[in-house]
């Protein structure tokens, strides 16, 4: 799909889906209905929607511990995701994964991941599977700037480049590795500069601008699909919330956070882009937001009404059910 009114509206709506889903999840966490870690993606929405707008349903996506956005942008059902955060049997992972492990294999969303950098080699492996089968599916791996310090980054991208696999590595550089400003612990400011070591294209993009992300991702994904091998995209972005719930954020100032929210909110950026071109009326904007609010309200209702897993589920899904092999 090339850039169009329709595409922009889809991206705009998806960013609202992510934003409102997370704000609601955050509220439900405070109420005690959502338990455990909740890593908020708010502020980074343009990256997920800009990349995923280029993907087909059968393309693979692997994520991070901060993956609500990747799942929703790939088309995951907010009801099942909210139920998962509630620990309910109807959740995407039947209540066994939670926020850090949401996956939807029906969309080839092969999972968020609680280990930083752990998705890079598996995304490369999914791309190897596509290449061996002779399909033109592309794999996309989202990971944070912290992951670029891991050996898995080096080994995974190295293999992807060696075998010229259809995979796009998308680094979401939100400038903080958990509670540490990136440049306190990194040598290179730009993660995309590392691409040269693997002889693949690397480009940095304004991660607050979904249109820009879309265009850059489009080129990389098309190249991968046509057999041109991997690319590394660094999306310079920012997380509006702390690392996880309850983070006091003493490592950054309120002014800094508010500045990003005011001037570089990806939803506002796309809104202005569309309004400038008369691609979005106030009425359409209100309708989109109302639809999303309904979707999220229905997700909460679904999660609330769903049962918890049964005790016997503790021991299911460790291995596949016993079967005759032979």
């Amino acid at each position: 799909m090339s850039l169009s009114v329709e595409l922009c509206k889809t991206m705009y709506k998806d960013m609202w889906r992510i934003r409102l889903f997370e704000e609601e999840a955050n509220r439900q966490a405070i109420l005690g209905n959502v338990m455990g870690a909740l890593h908020m993606y708010c502020g980074e929405e343009a990256v997920a929607v800009g990349v995923c707008a280029n993907l087909r349903k059968d393309d693979y996506v692997l994520g991070t511990h901060r993956s609500h956005g990747h799942c929703l942008a790939k088309g995951a059902d907010a009801r099942l995701m909210m139920a998962e955060l509630f620990g309910k049997a109807t959740g995407t992972c039947a209540g066994k994964g939670g926020s850090m492990h949401i996956a939807d294999f029906s969309l080839n969303m092969l999972g968020a991941n609680g280990i930083v950098g752990a998705g890079i080699a598996p995304a490369t492996g999914a791309a190897l599977a596509s290449k061996m089968r002779g399909t033109d599916q592309v794999s996309v791996c989202f990971f944070g700037d912290g992951a670029a310090a891991r050996g898995t980054f080096h080994e995974g991208i190295g293999l992807g480049s060696l075998w010229k696999l259809p995979v796009v590595y998308v680094c979401e550089n939100n400038q903080y590795q958990q509670w540490v400003p990136r440049m306190n612990v990194a040598v290179l400011d730009s993660v995309s500069d590392m691409a040269g070591a693997y002889a693949i294209p690397g480009v940095s993009v304004n991660g607050q601008d979904s249109v820009e992300v879309y265009e850059v991702a489009r080129e990389a994904i098309n190249r991968a699909r046509k057999g041109g091998g991997p690319s590394l995209i660094e999306a310079r972005t920012y997380r509006f919330y702390g690392h996880s719930l309850g983070d006091e954020q003493q490592y950054r100032s309120t002014e800094e956070v508010e500045g990003w929210k005011t001037d570089r909110d990806p939803i506002k950026t796309l809104h202005s882009f569309m309004v400038d071109r008369q691609w979005l009326t106030d009425q359409e904007d209100a309708d989109i937001q109302d639809e999303v609010k309904d979707e999220i309200a229905s997700a909460v209702k679904f999660a609330e009404d769903s049962p918890f897993p049964e005790p016997y589920n503790v021991t299911t899904d460790v291995l596949a059910p016993a079967q005759e092999v032979g």
Binding site: Y60, L62, G91, T92, C93, A94, G95, K96, G97, H101, A103, D104, F105, N108, L110, G111, N113, G114, I115, A118, I120, A121, P122, A123, T124, G125, A126, A127, L128, A129, S130, M132, R133, S139, G151, T152, H154, E155, G156, G158, L159, L162, W163, T316, D317, V318, L319, A320, Q323, V325, G326
Partner: protein
Amino acid sequence: MRTITFGEALREALHEEMERDETVFVMGEDVITHGGPYKVTQGIAERFPGRIFETPIAEAGIVGVAVGAAMAGMNPVVEIMYLDFITCAMDEVVNQAAKMRYMTGGQASVPMVIRLPCGAGRMLAAQHSQIMESWFMHVPGVQVVVPSTPGDAKGLLKTAVRSPDPVMFFEYKRTYTSKGEVPEEEYTIPFGQADIKREGEDATIVAIGPMVQKSLEAAVLLEDDGYDVEVVDPRTLSPLDSETICESVRRTGRAVVCGEDSSFAGATSEIAAIIGENCFGDLKAPVVRVGSPHVPMPFSPELVKHVVPEVPNITAAVDRVMS
């Protein structure tokens, strides 16, 4: 029946499974140019072009790629040159491969085999001689397979390739050249089914991997003492066929559990505990374990002699439970 080596049996299993299922592929260091350090992957590149990948030295990358390929419908068989190097890919095995099915509520299937040349015997010292079976027994979601004969090796590897879940496949390095009977016709061996390698009435020896052959040799020597011992080979440590083990111990009333690895928190510890819990009333003597002392593998052959348990350690242990 024809006789072939352990290594040849593994190679046959790989070729047959690759012929049967085109999603099966091989990946590892030196697997094409050198045919693997023990030549198990020899001939695959010629017969199955495009289905064997020689990698840089990147264990985490290799296993991680295998996890992703498996989740995307392929069936990788990874060779880790020496088991010891799997520590470089522990996240990929323990946090990824093992937990994917569970964490995704049953959506993910990770059908992959990791072949692990292990154990002492070639004077390679502490970083190329470990066994570590119990490390992986402790991880739910992976299966631990330890064949002791060429026949078992072939049947178990074929089952491993067909398993929808990850398998850690232990191959004791000294066993590659050992010979044994291997049927020419198609067969597989199910996981979780121990094999009674020798029947006996006076004591049960549960033996893992190469300790099976040593136990069979010990059993012959023990005949001179008038002891008729049974030798049980679990073949898979996870799942573990506790039933066959306990049934044998209840019958004989005495148990010796043998493995080449350290007895401390090892595979033999778990088996001894299971016997203790389930067969206490039938035991005529405490369970005795045979294994290595809790030390890294030394280099000098004079030191190795005091680490790897051999036949006399087994006969001494049987003497203990018989007295």
